[in-house]
Amino acid sequence: MTPRESSGTGCTSEADPPRIHIHDPTLRDGHHAVRHRLGREQLRGYAAAADAAGIPVVEVGHGNGLGASSLQVGRAALSDASMLEAVREALTTSRMGVFLLPGWGTSSDLRQAIALGADVVRVGTHCTEGDLAERHLDFLRDAEVEAHAVLLMSHMAAPERLAEECLRLVGFGASAVGIFDSSGHYLPPDVSERVAAITAAVDVPVIFHAHNNLGMAVANSVAAVRAGARIIDGCARGFGAGAGNAQLEVVVPVLERLGYATGVDLYRLLDAADFAERELMPAPPTIDSVAVVSGLSGVFSGFKTRVLDIAGREGVDPRDVFFELGRRQAVAGQEDLIVEVAEELRRSSGPPSTPVAAVPGGAP
């Protein structure tokens, strides 16, 4: 075992170690952190670096997926087609992934993505609304494209409900199913319980996608694997919405040390992460005060930049906005509620007294 293959120690089993498939949404989830403004060279450069590291799937697109560029969640610098073309050119062995939220993107967006060379499509819905994916999973089955189905904001449903939804999604044709901790709300036992329930219910690989609002992204990914998850999402330097995702170049060697095989080349992975830090982001994601509140309140991490913009404009505390959005059980996509919540807070608090600039985390 060379250092370049693995940093693993203590893995002495004669049998092949269990395989974990790494799925890398750096160029999709990371878009949330830079207002969906990555350019062609950035996409191409990172995709080439990830490809060199042997990362199985490189996902690309607007943070909210195909067709999602909008005033509601942010307008992307590039069209979906330009993003996919840039990444496709750079990949030799890695497969290209895309993400679609039914109600945001449509089958026409899927058709275009497939024509541009998407190999793996993730269809996401809110955790209790899996049947919204039926139509698009049907479409992908007919198109013979690998389709994963994922449940967003999964902390909002009980383990049994998530297992039921996942079983239904397998019935619609998903070849892998799983959960996103979109708010970064979970602690490891929450993940273990949910992934175990899903793993017991379905006979396809189970996916886990972490966010780091409470500092648990890597620990939660480990808990997921131990509970039976076999597809783990990670982003270079954690580049993703809010406090970011599970840090890819950390989660991979940690899993290797635990005795799981990822097939990813450590040094090339670290090179890709260095490239990402240098070329994709003004600074790596950090768990700032707003991100902590977002995780505690159970609000979609992707709300952060809009909450900061609108809270600043209305002169209210963004932390209050997050807690009120959490109380209203806002789900991903309901960014339009932010204006109303901020206006109501302003009206109920009279003239602003707290300087909003005192709250850290104003950078996009």
Binding site: A68, S70, L71, Q72, P102, G103, W104, T106, S107, S108, H126, T128, E129, D131, L132, E134, R135, M156, R313, R328, Q329, A330, V331, G333, Q334, D336, V339, E340, E343
Partner: protein
């Protein structure tokens, strides 16, 4: 319009939309619900329609084709794919159709925008619940304000959205977009759909944004309120929650609560499209058959 007798109508589909529609039809002195039809999988909706006092059938479109009794109007509350077939079969019979699916087949109508022309068309399409909520505001604004881009985001309570709508999100988006362009003349637009599982459920909500750098906030607020007043004449729970102009973006959030019916207050999505359906039906001209 005095016809001397109510128009006879039938309803295709007994999902969430169909059952509420039957309630509203029965309240109208101008409409008489003669039959509600569905397929077997909507047996529960059919039982509810029967409990409301309607004749029902589970034989789908065949129940209408077999009937010796011609209907003045057939409402289609099934799904966009089925509507094409229903229209092909019913068109030769001379029946008028009011289509509540996002099929884009009939002439698109929103009552306060172009309701007056509805009577001229044998097949009227009601676009979508989001279209019915957004178009009155958009149409009013677009007559005076030049917009480069329009965006509509609808959020309905999960429990108020049945299977047909869930399977028709693509059609919902494409039809609503086409209507936005048709009634505003703005080609660049986007429509998005959210479902909210919040408990207790929140009312149906439609967020409207226009990129309109020259918009005057005071004038925008007057126009938006005019549109709301016109809507409240037949959808009393239609409210403007937010109306703001900032950074060249006009942002209007509309909420629709269902009032006065058996459906829960949050199901404004059902209320607004069904109120539009009854509104259009009541203003239909005398039956094509010429009976009086």
């Amino acid at each position: 319009m005095d016809r001397g007798r109510p128009l006879t109508v039938a309803v295709l589909g007994a999902g969430l939309i169909g059952v509420d529609l039957v309630t509203k039809i029965r309240r109208s002195p101008l409409l008489e619900c003669r039959l509600v039809v569905a397929r077997d999988d909507q047996a529960r909706g059919l039982r509810m329609a029967a409990a409301l006092g309607c004749r029902t059938s589970s034989k789908g479109i065949d129940a209408l084709l077999d009937s010796s009794e011609p209907y003045d109007i057939v409402f289609d509350a099934t799904n966009a794919m089925s509507h094409a077939e229903h229209w092909a079969l019913l068109q030769p019979t001379g029946t008028r159709m009011i289509d509540l699916t996002p099929s884009m087949i009939g002439t698109m109508v929103a009552p306060t925008v172009n309701g007056a022309e509805a009577g001229r068309h044998a097949n009227v399409n009601l676009i979508s619940c989001g279209g019915q909520a957004a178009l009155p505001v958009l149409h009013r604004l677009a007559r005076e304000i030049s917009a480069e881009y329009i965006e509509v985001v609808t959020t309905a309570a999960s429990r108020s959205v049945g299977r047909a709508t869930r399977m028709n999100l693509d059609e919902y988006i494409e039809t609503t977009r086409a209507a936005v362009t048709r009634f505003t003349g703005v080609a660049d637009s986007k429509v998005m759909v959210n479902l909210s599982p919040a408990q207790p459920p929140s009312p149906f909500r439609v967020a409207i944004s226009l990129l309109a750098p020259a918009a005057d906030p005071e004038r925008v607020s007057v126009l938006v309120e005019e549109a709301a007043v016109a809507m409240r004449r037949f959808v009393p729970g239609y409210r403007i929650k937010v109306c703001s102009v900032a950074d060249g973006v006009v942002f209007v959030a509309v909420e629709v609560e269902a009032t006065g019916d058996r459906i829960p207050h949050y199901a404004g999505n059902l209320d607004i499209i069904n109120a539009a359906a009854v509104h259009v039906a009541e203003r239909h001209p005398a039956p094509l058959g010429g009976r009086t």
